[in-house]
């Protein structure tokens, strides 16, 4: 994809279209069907109305189930940050009381073990599961067929629910849009043009995401197709809202995720400046992939070669910042190399998080932009 098109996909309005795509799709698509008189085909409307109620109930059960799963997973993963924040003060006090090469080595190992227990293990379990399901299905044909049927029923039910929500929203807010806009919404040409434009944006972003190494390593072609089909349902968006809410409720604006970030040297300088300005005397620990995912831990993944390769490719780096005076943890950051470098960041204050995010964005835009390397 050309850089210009990628820039366009990263543009905030494009992101907004993506967020609302399932609803926009069904609103426009149903309008188009109405305009063309297709909904009057008796078999089509008869079959759907017969199963409509059952599918609605099924969809609600599916959404509730997945939301519960995401809720548990988000609470579990966000707990790792709380565990690190709670345990660092004890280690730091012990080290500062008696600083020596011996206690320093212990301190460094304690922080590393904490990162492994709290973050690396969670990552490995998640990637292990993501990798084992497609492998299992590729070996058991009957299970694969059954799971695909179950998936299609799920898809139909979730599409029905999305249609219900779209109908409700278009009934509530549709007249407002139609009455104020100058577009002729009764024209099928306009509907088709809008649908095509929105679809290009949404599937452009989707194709970008599928090019992510995680898909290449652990994804299958069936999973990719399933992922595209899910774009016509609200499920992904609802799950994202649940996950986002858990992190927001726990950490507010002190936490930021999926931040595009520069190299480790530049990042260390950004962290150093932020700690210096906001905290004062501080310690900043940087742990590379070899420390975060030691051989001992990876041995447990003997069967999952792809997961091991993926982690090696990601080369995660973790930073832990500490306030020497208050003896507390003030920064936790994890950086993963993917198609670009992305960072999850928590700091002790909203201002510090905002400053770091702004600095990363500026470096990315101003410096990499001038080389056409964004």
């Amino acid at each position: 994809m050309s850089n210009l098109f990628l820039e366009f996909l990263h543009w905030t309005p494009s992101r907004a279209i993506r967020a609302l795509y399932p609803l926009l799709f069904w609103i426009i698509f149903l309008r188009l069907i109405q305009q063309m008189g297709i909904s009057s085909i008796p078999i089509f409307s008869g079959l759907l109305s017969y199963f409509w109620f059952v599918l609605e109930i099924l969809a609600l059960v599916i959404v509730a189930f997945y939301c519960l799963l995401v809720l548990i997973f988000s609470i579990w993963t966000s707990n790792s940050y709380v565990t690190i924040q709670n345990n660092i003060p004890g280690f730091l006090k012990a080290f500062l009381k008696n600083p020596s090469p011996g206690t320093e080595a212990t301190f460094k190992a304690e922080v590393r073990d904490l990162l492994i227990a709290a973050r690396s293990t969670v990552t490995l379990i998640f990637l292990g599961l993501a990798s084992s399901i497609p492998t299992h299905l590729s070996r058991h044909r009957k299970t694969a067929i059954l799971s695909q049927i179950a998936f299609l029923v799920q898809l139909l039910a979730l599409a029905v629910l999305t249609v219900v929500v779209s109908n409700y929203l278009s009934a509530q807010f549709g007249p407002l849009v139609v009455n104020t806009a100058w577009y002729d919404f009764s024209s099928p040409v306009i509907s088709i043009t809008l649908l095509a434009a929105f679809s290009i944006v949404d599937f452009g972003i989707e194709i970008e995401e599928v090019r992510n190494p995680i898909w290449k390593k652990v994804g299958t072609s069936t999973l990719r197709v399933d992922n595209f089909l899910f774009e016509f349902t609200l499920l992904d968006r609802v799950m994202e809202i649940v996950d986002y809410s858990v992190w927001k409720i726990r950490f507010g604006n002190d936490f930021a995720s999926n931040i595009e970030c520069p190299d480790n040297r530049t990042l260390t300088k950004i962290f150093g400046r932020a700690l210096n300005n906001h905290i004062g005397p501080s310690l900043l620990f940087s742990y590379r992939y070899e420390e975060l995912f030691p051989q001992k831990l990876l041995k447990g993944l003997a069967k999952f070669t792809k997961v091991r390769e993926l982690i090696r490719f990601y080369s995660p780096v973790s930073y832990v910042g500490m306030d020497k005076d208050r003896k507390s943890c003030v920064l936790i950051a994890t950086i993963y190399k993917s198609r670009d470098r992305r960072m999850s960041l928590w700091t002790g204050s909203t201002a510090m998080t905002r400053n770091i995010v702004t600095a990363c964005t500026n470096y990315d835009r101003d410096v990499l932009g001038m080389y056409g390397a964004r």
Binding site: E104, P262, T268, L283, V367, Y371
Partner: protein, 152 residues
């Protein structure tokens, strides 16, 4: 103590680094380079600010590389560094005296940097090549953009 750029930049990356209030120490190095060292370089008695800035970046990078090479925690902890203010002071104090020696050191650093970047651009995307060069030579992205207004 002789400084060999090639040896400094080819050392394996440490897996753990502790930055112990190093931001101030780096700031001090920057001030020292700009205020004390640059004026002593007779070869740079020029109005070309960018050229001076490039030399300053090179010297700061060399100080960082030397500080890093002497900051290992000891034989019992492999691949770990604890960078402290003293390491920067030591590195600063061990820069060669005299403009010509410093000039040669900067020249070596520039050649090494250029070669490394060219090799990275052959095997990586532009973004990764720039990132790897910054990490290897301890320069940030802004400094990189001053050294290379255009990629070679």
């Amino acid at each position: 103590m002789s400084i060999e750029i090639e040896k400094l930049v080819s050392q394996p990356e440490p897996t753990i680094v502790i930055y112990d209030d190093t931001f101030d120490a780096e700031d001090e190095v920057s001030r020292y380079v700009h205020d004390d060292l640059l004026p002593t370089l007779g070869l740079l008695a020029t109005d070309d600010e960018l050229a001076k800035e490039k030399v300053a970046i090179a010297l700061q990078s060399i100080v960082f590389l030397v500080a890093e090479s002497i900051s290992g925690l000891g034989p019992e902890v492999k691949d770990a560094l604890h960078l402290q203010k003293e390491h920067f002071q030591f590195a600063r104090a061990h820069l060669p005296e005299g403009g010509v020696a410093l000039f040669h050191l900067v020249k070596d650093w520039q050649v090494s940097l250029r070669e490394y970047l060219a090799s990275q651009l052959k095997i990586n995307s532009r973004r990764e090549a720039i990132f790897n060069t910054c990490e290897r030579f301890k320069i940030d992205l802004v400094e990189f953009s001053k050294l290379f207004p255009k990629l070679p």
